[in-house]
Each structure stands twice: as C-alpha cells, then as structure tokens.
C-alpha cells in the first residue's frame, strides 16, 4: 500500500503527534502543569478510540509497517500503560512541576513509537523503532538534570544501549550481506531453501537477539535495569518495566517467527538457557534487596525470564502464553509500582524497613500492594496465576522438564522476597501511626490495576479470547 492510503490507518498515531506538539507549545504558557497532564491523558484516550477498526490486507507504507491484530494488541498495551502512567504522574512529588510538561510530551511520543515497534516488517524498521524508543527512554529517565541518581541511571542506560545497538547493527549487516534483503519474511523465505552461509546468518540472528535482549532486560544484558528502574522517577520506572519491555517481546516474536522459523531448534534451545538464567538471576539477587523499587526491578528481570519461556517453547501455545503473561504482568506490575509511588509520597523513602506497620497506617494501600505481590508470585485466583499457568503449560506441553522445574523452584524463591514486603507491612509494628493521604489520581490508577488483576484472574475467558484473536493472523511456521 502506498504512503497516502496508509495514512488512514495510522490516524491515531498522527493525532497523538499533533497532541504532543500541542502539549509542548502549551507548556510555555500554562502555569498549572496538571492541565497539561489531563490534556495528555484525554488525547491518548481519544487516540485509542479513533483507532481504525479494520485491518488492511497488505503492509502499510510499501510494506514497511504492518497493522494486524498482533500490532493492535501491543498498541493497546502501550496506550494503556501510557495513560495510566500519565495519571499517576499528575501527583508525583519527586518531579518538580516545571518539568512535568516535558514528561507528558515524552510519554505521548512513546505512543506512536511503540506502535511502530509492534508492527515492524524489516531490519531497518526494527533498528529505527528500537533506537527511537530507547532514546526516548533515556530522556524519560534523565530529564531531571539536577537529580544525580537519575542522571547516573540515564548515562548508564545510554552506554549499555549504545553497545547493544552497535552489536545489533553488526548482526543486521551480517544478515543483509548473506541474504541480500532486509525484509524479515524474505529472510525466512531465503532460509527455507537451505542456503549457504548458514553459520553467518546464525551469527547475525544472535547479534540481533542481543539488541532485543537489551530491551527486555534478558540476562546477561540486564545490567542497566536495576540502576535505571531504581534511579528513574517512579512513574517512569513503572512505565519502563512494562511498555518498552512488552514491545521488545513483540519485536522478538516478529523476528523469530517471521525471519527464522527454520532455525527454530537453535533459538528455542538458546532461549531456554537464557530464560532459566534470567529468572534465576533476577530472583536470587532480589532476595537480598532492601529497597522496594530495586527489589521490584530485579523481580521484573525475573518476570522477563518467565515470559521468555513462552519463546523457548515454540508454537502457537507458547506465543499465547507470552501475550497472556504480558497482559497479566501489565496490570500487576503497574499496580505494584503505583502503590509504591503512593507510599513514597507519604514516607519519602523506599526502604522495606520503612514499610513496617503499613497495614495500620494505610490499610487499603497495604492490601492493594499485597494483592499485586501475590499476583506477581502467581498465587490464585489473581492475574499472575493465569499467566503462570500458561507459561507452565507451555513448558509442560513441549516436554521441557528443565524449564518447568526451573519455574517451580524460582516461583518458591520469588515468594520469599515478595513476602518480605508483606511481612514488613503486616507483621511488623509501625513506629509512627500517622495516616496516609492519597489524591484522586492515585486512587484511580490503583483501582484500575486492581480491577485488571482480579478480572483476569477470576474471568480469564475474555482475555484469553482477545489474545487468541490477536494471534489469529500470526504465521506460526
């Protein structure tokens, strides 16, 4: 499809682009930045509502971008995360008001960028999408230039990101050199004829996976993640642990299933090992953490390990598991970060010790955080349990006993550190009995996350159906 016809299908992205320019301009005049936030929130909602309800048969922009149910699923994930993050930033105190306009602009910019990332069809677009999302992420982490911790985190993020981008580009050059095309589907076609240079193509694939592995904080490319998630402002950390990560998995799915179905035995073995390493590493290090945000950072590395299991067990069921886990993780992890944000507002620290006796000072927040942590630990009947069941099933279905055992052991380990926080809140005594105050936006975002966590857990039917429909057009080998 040519560029002019394609514009119709990306109208919500165009709208968002306009909205972000508007917010940027208003930022110069408007004193009360919260109106900018509300404007940004309304625009993202409108952008979502005006999304096209039909999917074109062919790729957009001369097949540089594909809009299919799979893209739409990840677009929804991205928009939902952005919307909730904007709401939660409205009342976040550790970003000074004058910078908030920039925060909203950057978050709005993430909408179109992440959508592009979910619909990539060739190596060039993968590079552009990942790179632009990464650049925006660096800015989101470090835009408060006076804050030393977040500047350090941002710098670390940039350096690690630059190295992995270089490796990824090198991999792409190998792929282009040996196959003569940058289109994922043509690489797949080329490989189906059992061509020469297979080992170089394999090497190219591995370098490409490194670039994506960086985005999804896969061990051993995770080193940036704990510092970044801890150093970033809490709403940004919430956003980064969910949306760019989920989209990283979307790109991974496109690469593996479109370009490399003929290497399936190779990448599934490789990813099995990396999945086990990622979840084990994340969980083991999380145990000894004393800062809640850092603990959740390591936990999110471990969660990425669970999601990778869905890739290590190739097939439709594995991909379903990935999408379902991401949906569950979206509500649960956002919820956990939002409650931490609300607690941070009142305590001005994130140390686990300072959570002591929270169940008496803020009973509802403590209960919500407990529910999110239980869901992360995979306790039924919450969303995390449905995700974990699917991941477990994917492993058992493909007879990957090692993976299943690794998940089992890791789940028990993870329960230990999640319960460290629960223990502080419920079992330890409070030093001070001052009650918390929570403004409306916090209540809204926590309630939304709670609703998602419970609904997916109790009535998974509809969510599974959505996932099945999202994968309907996806070519599985």
């Amino acid at each position: 499809m040519n560029a002019i016809d394609s514009l119709y299908f990306i109208r919500s992205e165009i709208f968002l682009f306009g909205a972000l320019l508007a917010v940027l301009i208003f930022d110069f005049f408007v004193q009360e930045k919260k109106w900018l936030g509300i404007l940004a929130f309304i625009s993202i909602v409108i952008a979502f509502l005006i999304s096209p309800n039909t999917f074109p048969n062919t790729g957009l922009f001369f097949n540089y971008f594909v809009l299919d149910p799979f893209t739409f699923f990840f677009k929804s994930v991205a928009y939902l995360t952005i919307a909730l993050t904007i709401l939660s930033s409205l009342v976040y105190k550790n970003i000074s008001e004058k910078f908030k306009g920039e925060l909203y602009v950057l978050l709005l910019a993430m909408g179109p960028l992440l959508t592009i990332m979910s619909g990539v069809t060739n190596l060039l677009m993968i590079f552009i999408a990942i790179e632009s999302v990464s650049l925006t992420s660096y800015l989101l982490v470090g835009f408060q230039t006076f804050d030393k911790r977040s500047s350090e985190a941002s710098l670390k993020y940039v350096l690690f990101g630059a190295v992995s981008t270089a490796l990824m580009l090198f991999g792409m050059s190998l792929l282009f050199g040996s196959t003569g095309t940058i289109e994922l589907s043509k690489i797949g076609l080329y490989l189906s004829h059992a061509p020469a240079f297979q080992s170089i193509i394999l090497l190219g694939m591995i370098f490409l996976l490194i670039g994506v592995g960086f985005k999804i904080s896969m061990v051993p490319f995770h080193m940036w993640a704990p510092d970044v998630y801890q150093g970033a402002p809490t709403p940004v950390a919430a956003f980064l642990t969910v949306a760019p990560k989920a989209l990283g998995f979307a790109v991974l799915a496109r690469i593996l299933y479109v370009a490399f179905p003929f290497f399936v035995s190779k990448w599934s073995h490789l990813l099995s090992i990396l999945a086990i390493l990622t979840m084990t590493f994340g969980n083991v290090i999380a145990i000894s953490q004393t800062d809640v945000k850092r603990l959740l950072a390591y936990s999110s590395i471990a969660q990425a390990g669970y999601i990778l299991v869905g890739f290590a067990t190739p097939g439709l069921f594995g991909l379903q598991a990935v999408l379902i886990y991401i949906t569950a993780y979206l509500f649960t992890n956002l919820g956990a970060f939002f409650t931490v944000l609300a607690i941070e507002r009142n305590l001005e620290t994130n140390q686990i010790d300072s959570y002591n006796g929270l169940s008496e000072r803020a009973p509802l927040l403590a209960l919500s955080l407990t529910i999110f942590l239980l869901s992360l630990a995979g306790i039924p009947p919450l969303a995390g349990f449905i995700g974990k069941i699917y991941i477990f099933s994917a492993a058992v279905k493909t007879h990957s006993i090692a993976l299943a055992l690794a998940i089992a052991i890791n789940s028990a380990m993870a329960a230990y550190y999640y319960f460290k926080i629960v223990k502080a809140m419920y079992l330890s005594k409070a030093q001070n009995t001052e009650r918390f105050t929570n403004p409306l936006p916090i209540k809204i975002v926590v309630t939304a996350a709670l609703l998602g966590t419970f609904l997916i857990g109790l009535f998974p039917v509809h969510f599974i159906k959505i996932v099945e429909q999202s994968l309907a057009g996806f070519a599985i080998f």
């Binding site: 039924p380 058992v396 089992a408 329960a415 319960f419 079992l427 039917v461």
Partner: protein, 490 residues
C-alpha cells in the same frame, strides 16, 4: 431447582468475609457475631449434607458443574463422596468450634475474622473440588490466610514459622502444579476433570513420575517424615484456634489428596510405591512418638504426636486393603476430633498460665477439676483406649496392614506404646503431683470453653462405641476405589 448446597458451603464464608470487611473495625462484637453465625450456618449445612447423603452409593453425589474457562476446559466442578464427606463435616465442626475459641483474640479483630473465613472457604473448596485446576486454586487459597493468621497473631517466633510454613507448602504445590499440567496434556481429550482423568490409562513410567510430583505436594502437607519440620514451628507459634484447624483440617488435605487424586489416577504406581510409603509411615509413627516424648512444651508435644498419628493414616494408605483404607479414612476423622480437642485444651491452659512448659505445672487437677477430667478423657482417646475413637481407627489400620506388611505392623505397635507413654507422662506432669504454688489462683474452665469441647467428646465416644456411625459413609466409596486399584477386598 434445588439449592446448590456445596456452593453454599464454599462461598458462604467468603460472603461473610466481605460482610466483615464492610463492618467498621470498632464493632468487634458484631464482627465476632457475624463470624460465629456464618460458621454455625456452615455447620448446619454440613449436617444437612450428612443427612441427605446416599449411604449405598460409592459414586460422587450432589455434583455441581459449570464451564469456567472454556479455552482450557476448566470447569467449576464440585461434588462429594465417601472420601470427602467426613472431612467436610470435620471442617465445618472445627471451624465453628475454633471460631468460638477465637473470642480470646483481642487485637486486629476485624482482620482476624476476615482471614479466618477466607481460610474456611479455602478448606471447604479443597475438599469439594473435582476439577484439578479448581482444586489447586483452593489449595493455594488456604496458604495465604494461614500465613497471616500465624504471622500476625502467633507467638514470639511467628514470622519465621509463618514464612517457613508458606514456603514449604508452596514448594510442594509447585511440583503438584507441574503434575496437574502434565496430566492435562497427556489426557485425551485434554481435561482437568478428576472423574474423566481416572478413565485414562497412563503408562507405568508416566504414573511413577506423576505420583512423585503429587507425593511432594501432599507429603509436605501431611507431613510425612522427612518433610515434617515446618509443623512443630507452625503449631507452636500459631494461636490456639489456628492450631486446631492446622492439625484438624490442613494436615488432612495431604492424605485426602492421596485418596482423591494419586490413588484413582495412578493405581499401578501407587501399588509400586506402597512399600516405600509404609516405611515412611512407620518411621513417622515411631520417630514422632519418641520426639513427642522428649518435649517439654505442651503444644510441641501435641504437634509431634500428630506426626505419629498421621503416620497411621499413611500406613493404612500403603496397604491396599479395605480394612486399611477404612481405617485410614476413619483415623483422619478421629485425629481431627482428638487433636483438635487437645489443642483447645492446651489453649485453655495457656490462656491462664501464659506458659506451656510441662515441667512448670503440677497438681493442677485440684484447682481445675473439670479441665483435668476432660484432659484425661481426650488423652485416653488419643492413646487408643478401647471404646474411644482413636482405638477403632488405629486398630483397623493395624488389622488391615498385618497380612501385608507383618514387620512394619509390629513396629508400628511401638507407636501406640509410645503414645501411651508420652500422653500419660504429660497428664502426670500437668495434673498430678503436688500443686505448684504458682498456680494457686488458677480458675477452672468457663462455660464457653466447655461448650467447645463437649461436641468433640460426644463424637469421640460415639465412634468408639459404634464405629459404623462414621464407617457407613466410607465403605461404598472405598470398595469402589479398591476395585480401581485391584486390591484385596478383605
């Protein structure tokens, strides 16, 4: 349409929990009243269930079945048969009595009773679920309130005990979850339905692996030696009513799992593992007895006596005879009554003396005549005095296992001897001898405490004299189960 009585049993406590959550937390009396009324209704419902239970049928009764997650073929499926009926009644009865015994809880009353009712829902659901997915959910739901109930209202080392309990059980259940999913993917058509799964013929090797996976989950819960180390910690630290439920109901979930899942689904592997289970049972019986004998903490002694007595259940399970199975099921019920009563009695004493050190008592009978009488009565039931309940079930287990494992049976008799030793030694140290001057002002049991024990005492006597009162519920189901297993009908 008839009333879905099983769903009421499961969800009435949950509704009660929400009711309590909506009550302001200063209204402590109202909260207690709600919890009491809810558990009382549950008890009445379970009595109604007993009364309308068809004694001639070995099949599942009162089935309720609704599709829940079509993509995974998961059903909301409840039902009751001879394996579960007595456990339902025991759960309902102990929940009600332990609720009365919870009136002593003075802090964070609202949270306590809310979690308590959630626990009741979990326990009921575990015994009623016939869909493995649902079973697993209820099994896990039990863990969470238990963690808080031990961790918030427990003794000095409550935090350690609570997380140890949680992690032990969770590790076990993770392996069980793998087992459940392996069953699902290897059944044709894919199903979590226990009744349909029982029609699948799995290969011997597959059965062995899955039996082990489920064994880990169940053995930790029972607990079978060497997985028992969480039990003394949890029991010692838990508040009295929670100890009652822990010993009376939660431990039974493990042995129930063998009857409900492992045996019907993996009959060949079960027979193959029988001797090993027998050995573990005998070790548990003797080891538990000796360790109980050495305790100076009253509660710890009762906790280890549970390890010993649950060994008899395992022994009965290991022999594949009708007498052995009936004995094991009956022992589950009797142990729930007897140990429940013992923990209540420990609680009565602890509330007054604030110590459980057996050596610090002595001569208390003079001051607490009613307490002394009840304690002796329950101790005699626990050590297996004929005409009380404990005797019947342990005798049946031994009778059933003698033709199969002669030496193991003889070794297990040592356990009965040990039970007599540690229980009578305990009675001697607490009730007899010279009155320790510290306790001159100790008061006897009040009416509420007596009321919580009387139903248990009546049941213990009833089953001791007329065991058919309980056995009639079990026999048809056990006969059907043995047919699947191909065991001897003796």
């Amino acid at each position: 349409m008839t009333m879905p009585i099983l769903s009421w049993l499961v969800f009435l406590p949950l509704a009660g929990m929400f009711l309590i959550l909506l009550t302001p937390h200063s209204q402590e009396r109202l909260i207690r009243l709600i919890a009491t009324i809810i558990t009382a209704i549950v008890l009445l419902l379970s009595l109604k269930l007993l009364a309308s239970f068809d004694l001639t049928s070995g099949q599942i009764q009162f089935q309720e079945r609704t599709l829940w997650i079509p993509q995974l073929n998961v059903y909301y499926h409840l039902g009751v048969d001879g394996i579960s009926i007595l456990m339902i009644f025991a759960t309902a009865l102990l929940s009600f009595l332990a609720c009365l015994a919870s009136y002593g809880i003075k802090e964070r009353v609202k949270e306590y009773f809310a979690l308590y009712l959630l626990l009741v829902t979990g326990m009921m659901g575990t015994f009623l679920a016939l869909d493995l997915f649902l079973f697993y959910i209820f099994w896990e739901v039990v863990l969470v309130p238990m963690y808080f109930l031990i961790g918030i209202w427990g003794g000095p080392r409550k935090e350690y005990a609570a997380i140890k309990f949680f992690l032990y059980t969770l590790s076990g259940s993770m392996f069980m979850l793998i087992g459940i999913l392996a069953l699902y993917f290897n059944s044709n058509p894919h199903t979590f339905n226990l009744l349909e799964l029982a029609h699948n013929q799995f290969t011997f090797h597959f059965q062995q692996i899955l039996f082990l996976a489920f064994f880990l989950g169940f053995a930790i819960k029972v607990p079978v030696f060497p997985f028992h180390t969480w039990l003394p910690d949890a029991h010692v630290e838990a508040p009295t009513p929670i100890s009652v439920l822990l010993a009376g109901v939660l431990l039974k979930m493990g042995t129930y799992g063998f009857f409900r899942i492992s045996y019907p689904l993996f009959p060949i592997a079960a027979k193959w593992f029988g001797p090993f289970m027998g050995i573990l049972a005998v070790i548990g019986i003797i080891y538990g007895g000796f360790v109980a004998f050495a305790q100076t903490d009253f509660k710890k002694m009762v906790a280890y006596s549970s390890v010993s007595h649950m060994g008899f259940v395992l022994l009965g399970l290991a022999v594949f005879t009708k007498t052995g199975f009936n004995g094991a099921m009956l022992q589950m019920f009797n142990h729930a009554m007897i140990t429940g009563a013992l923990f209540l009695l420990v609680g009565v004493l602890y509330d007054r003396a604030h110590t459980r050190d057996l050596d610090s008592f002595g001569g208390i009978w003079v001051k607490m005549p009613v307490y002394g009488a009840i304690l002796i009565y329950i101790s005699l039931a626990s050590l297996g005095l004929p005409s009380l309940a404990g005797f019947v079930s342990e005798f049946m287990v031994l009778l059933g296992s003698f033709p199969v494992y002669r030496w193991m049976t003889m070794a297990s008799c040592v356990g009965i001897l040990l039970a007599a030793a540690y229980l009578l030694y305990m009675v001697q140290r607490v009730l007899l001898g010279k009155l320790n001057p510290k306790w001159t002002s100790i008061s006897d049991m009040n009416k509420l405490e007596i009321f919580t024990l009387v139903p248990l005492m009546i049941l213990i006597l009833l089953i001791g004299i007329y065991p058919m009162a309980a056995l009639q519920f079990l026999t048809p189901t056990m006969t059907a189960l043995l047919q699947i297993l191909g065991g001897s009908p003796a």
